[in-house]
């Protein structure tokens, strides 16, 4: 771990960790602006903390909607999230509590 992760990043990592997520879902759960979420996701993808994958075409077909791109944590991401959590816990901040459950359906 070279750099400590910021609150935003940790929040998004946490969101991804709690279930398979796609962009808009993260936006709704974290109540952050789409611009922040997307660019953070791209950055995390480049650092190999999350991996984006297209959902199966069949699922999308069944639900009559375009295919979504889901993100999941990589082992590196899990490690980073864990150490970041420890870091924040040491500071007495519970990042995860900021996650809203509103709109966390499906």
């Amino acid at each position: 771990m070279s750099r400590a992760l910021g609150v935003t990043t940790v929040l998004i990592l946490t969101a991804v960790d709690r279930g398979v997520c796609y962009g808009l879902d993260i936006v709704n759960r974290t109540a952050m602006l789409p611009g922040t979420v997307y660019t953070t996701l791209r950055r995390l993808e480049r650092r190999d903390f999350v991996r984006g994958q297209w959902e199966d075409a069949e699922v999308a077909e069944k639900e009559r909607r375009p295919r979504r791109r889901y993100y999941e944590l990589t082992p590196d991401g899990e490690k980073a999230l864990e150490s970041a959590r420890a870091h924040f816990a040491a500071l007495g901040v519970d990042v995860a509590s900021q996650l809203s459950t509103v709109g966390a359906g499906e």
Binding site: P34, T36, Y38, R65, P66, R67, R68
Partner: protein, 846 residues
């Protein structure tokens, strides 16, 4: 929206991103989000796209590009040096000029709350007629201060040159005479100011409203000591008034109050003889407007435009050079492309090269500008004329700096130039089809390149020629203006004429000196100096002092109604004045020694005045009534008519004018004119010592030859001619180099074709014609476009030209001929080489 955003994203990610956004947009729509959410989403998408784009330009890659560009540029030092030098000079010159324009046009006067500063003008005119701006006298100024509430902190000021006599040699200094309220109004600190012994110390670098002052003198103390009586004389008017709009008062409201005050001046202060027919008013003008000087501003814009034209030509030129280089680097590009470099990668590499060039040029340019702005800026501000009618300075030369606005300008210019001359070659090169390059070698591509490369090179040449035509036609306009100004008939001989001004004071008059007799004594002493052919007093053309009075009756048409009164410019002169001037007599006689205080009042009229006042009869022997002491009733007899004399600057309209004998109409202030046999300025010491014998303490000011004076009035157009001419020559040189390069390049490209033609029997003449035709064709198209462009562009010079219209066919033909000549010369050298091609060698090549 999504599609546009996707374009920004680097290619390999584009499809993924677009699908992802579409899916989410669908989601958002079905969830029935509000407009706000949709906007947020779209903004998010754009941020996403831009972030990806930025990531595409990874720093290491960029550094790699820059290093590669530096290596490439270092490999052809001649090209790089020429390019950097051209760019540095033109960017530097544009930036320096922009800083002047910036200061003159965009910057507020350097005083606190400049928006509220106003100049208050006194107005006089004929009832129902045009009002002329006039100056303030102390009593009127006092009344204004007391009564007008919408303009506060009023202050009076005037600029003068004065002679220091008690500290050794008399020295002429620039003095600003002002009321004590001027400094607080302008927020300038005056330190150690003594109340009566005058001299305080103001902030270093402050040169006053006129920008020239060295010494400040409180108005009251000056006049109490030097010119007593002036403080009480309501009609001794010679200073300007400035003030600050009261809090929350609009300029219109202030205008109505000030105009009402101005209207009462005539009743309140009984007017001297003649002036009682005038009506009065006053006006408020914002300081910014009052200090504007349209001709100076226009000339600065013109110069800036000219420099930018040169920059554009240089840019087109560099684009042409890079294009030629691009052609030779086609193989390199093809190799890189075949090794997997995308087109974007190639374009980026080439753009990095051109931007690197531009950046080096820009840095040097900015350095040049920061040095040049002090020299050039101050010089230009002086040369182009900065003082406006109210003795306000338009440009504070001390404040010329490279501020953020100038920096932004230079930065934008550099970036724009770099992109402009890099984009076309980059695009051309990136079109290289690797397979055909690697397979076919040179000739296959040669054929392909000709259609693309040459046509865009031709386009570049056409634009260079067109821009040069515009630049040169502007230069030719200014040259004609200067020539016209220098050769226009002024109605008098301007050679070998020494001029000066001096003024007696009311104190002199009170001590028994009669101004008329004094002036005649001065003239007699001057005539006694060896080398002096003739001498007189009177108005110095382009130098004053000036009186304008009313003609309100003439024998042919007595009792003119007030609306028929006309202004006439009048001057008391010594005997033989017309002969001394070299004015042309139309009829009658000169002013003579016998025209004395006790003889009949006489007047010599200028042609315009004579024709207007006596349209149907011979004016000689008839009387006119003038609103001047002694000339009102029964009036003065017209004894002579001369061709009009230009009393203002050469391009001013000719005024109605009258000359009266100095003994009959003595004034304290006058000009002194001395016709000499040789160099007039050589007689200055003799003139000064003759004056000193007569009146040791009298300050003789503004001593210079008429030629110098006239040169001063044409300095703006001469400087413009010189600079525009210089830019024009630079443009011609660039065009010649560009054309030479283009033709030489095409000859190289067409070696095989020319060789083939030669082997089939084409003679040298027809081969040369073939090559020349291309150069001439390009030039002619460029000239056509340029002529159209210049008829549009030169309209903006309207304020500056004199004696010619802004579309000047003769000048345009001259410009086109010069350009065509240069083009032919530039095309001839490579054309000759084309004719020397050995057919066998050309066909054997490749």
């Amino acid at each position: 929206m999504l599609v546009w955003a996707a374009i920004v994203v680097p290619g390999h990610l584009r499809q993924d991103r677009r699908l992802e956004w579409e899916a989410e947009l669908w989601q958002l729509r079905t969830a029935d989000g509000g407009v706000g959410e949709l906007m947020h989403f779209l903004c998010g998408v754009w941020l996403d796209a831009i972030w990806e784009w930025k990531e595409g330009w990874r720093m290491e890659l960029l550094m790699h590009d820059v290093r590669f560009a530096a290596r490439t540029l270092a490999r052809s030092p001649g090209f790089t040096l020429a390019a950097v030098l051209t760019l540095a000079l033109s960017i530097g010159a544009s930036t320096a000029l922009f800083s002047v324009v910036d200061e003159a046009v965009f910057t507020d006067p350097p005083y606190p709350e400049p928006d509220r500063l106003v100049v208050v003008d006194m107005l006089f005119g004929l009832p129902d007629g045009e009002m002329n701006t006039s100056n303030w006298s102390y009593p009127r100024y006092e009344a204004l201060r007391e009564e007008v509430t919408s303009v506060q902190e009023l202050a009076g000021y005037e600029s003068r040159t004065m002679t220091l006599t008690e500290l050794g040699d008399p020295a002429v200094i620039s003095v600003e005479v002002s009321t004590p309220s001027l400094f607080p109004l302008l927020g300038v600190n005056a330190q150690r100011g003594l109340r009566f012994q005058v001299i305080g110390v103001v902030e270093d670098g402050y040169r006053g409203v006129s920008g020239e002052a060295e010494v400040w003198i409180p108005m009251s103390s000056l006049w109490e000591v030097v010119e007593p009586g002036m403080l009480d004389d309501a009609w001794n008017q010679h200073f300007f008034v400035m003030g600050r709009l009261a809090e929350g008062v609009s300029i219109d409201l202030a205008q109505s109050e000030v105009a009402a005050f101005g209207g009462t001046v005539m009743e309140r202060f009984p007017a001297p003889v003649g002036a009682e027919r005038l009506s009065s008013s006053a006006q408020v003008v914002s300081l910014k407007e009052a200090s504007s000087n349209p001709a100076a501003t226009t000339s600065m814009w013109a110069l800036l435009a000219a420099v930018i034209l040169v920059l554009l030509i240089a840019t087109a030129n560099l684009a042409g050079l890079l294009l030629a280089r691009g052609a030779t680097r086609q193989r390199e590009a093809a190799v890189r492309a075949s090794l997997g470099a995308g087109r974007a990668r190639l374009v980026r590499q080439l753009l990095t090269e051109s931007l690197t060039l531009a950046a080096i040029g820009g840095v040097f340019g900015l350095a040049l500008a920061s040095v040049g702005v002090d020299l050039l800026g101050a010089w230009l501000a002086d040369a182009l004329g900065t003082s406006s009618a109210r003795a306000l300075q338009a440009i504070d030369t001390a404040a010329l700096t490279i501020d953020w606005r100038v920096f932004t300008f230079a930065f934008g210019l550099t970036g724009g130039v770099g992109l402009a001359f890099g984009l076309l070659p980059a695009w051309q090169t990136s079109r290289a089809d690797p397979s055909s390059w690697l397979r076919g070698g040179r000739s296959a591509i040669g054929a392909r390149r000709r259609t693309l490369g040459i046509s865009s090179r031709n386009l570049l040449m056409v634009s260079q020629v067109a821009l040069a035509v515009i630049l040169l036609s502007a230069a030719s306009l200014m040259m004609r203006t200067t020539l016209n100004l220098q050769s226009v008939g002024l109605g008098f001989e301007r050679e070998n004429l020494l001029t000066a001004t001096y003024a007696l004071t009311p104190a002199d008059e009170q001590s028994g000196i009669d101004p008329g007799t004094f002036h005649v004594d001065v003239v007699d002493r001057m005539r006694a100096i060896p080398g002096v052919l003739a001498a007189s007093v009177g108005e110095v053309p382009m130098g004053g002092p000036t009186w304008r009075i009313l003609v309100f009756g003439s024998e042919g048409r007595p009792a003119l109604t007030p609306a028929e009164h006309v202004w006439i410019r009048i001057q008391p002169v010594a005997d033989g004045h017309m002969e001394m001037l070299g004015a042309t007599f139309i009829d009658g006689r000169d002013i003579e020694t016998t025209d004395d205080w006790n003889t009949e009042k006489v007047v010599v009229l200028g042609r315009t005045a004579a024709e207007e006042l006596f349209p149907d009869s011979d004016p000689i022997g008839q009387k006119i009534q003038l609103s001047w002491s002694g000339y009102a009733d029964p009036g003065a007899t017209v004894v002579g008519i001369v061709e009009d004399v230009q009393l203002g600057r050469p391009n001013d309209p000719i005024e109605r004018q009258a000359f009266v004998p100095v003994r009959q109409a003595p004034q304290l202030e006058t000009g002194l004119l001395i016709r000499t046999a040789g160099d007039p300025e050589a007689l200055i010491p003799a003139m000064r010592s003759a004056m000193a014998e007569l009146a040791p303490d009298l300050a003789v000011t503004s001593v210079m030859s008429m030629e110098t004076r006239a040169a001063g009035t044409t300095v703006r157009s001469r400087v413009l001619t010189m600079l525009l001419g210089f830019f024009g020559v630079a443009a011609l040189f660039l065009v010649a180099v560009g054309l030479y390069g283009t033709i030489a390049y095409s000859v190289t490209q067409r070696t095989r074709e020319l060789g083939l033609r030669a082997s089939l029997g084409a003679d040298r003449g027809s081969l040369a014609a073939l090559v020349l035709r291309q150069g001439v064709g390009v030039t002619l198209v460029g000239i056509g476009v340029g002529v159209i462009g210049s008829t549009w562009a030169t309209r903006f010079l309207q304020d500056l030209v004199f004696g010619t219209r802004t579309v000047d066919p003769v000048g345009l033909v001259g410009v086109c001929t010069i350009l065509l000549g240069v083009a032919l010369a530039a095309a001839y050298l490579p054309a000759r080489r084309g004719t020397r091609i050995d057919p066998m060698e050309a066909l054997r090549a490749d």
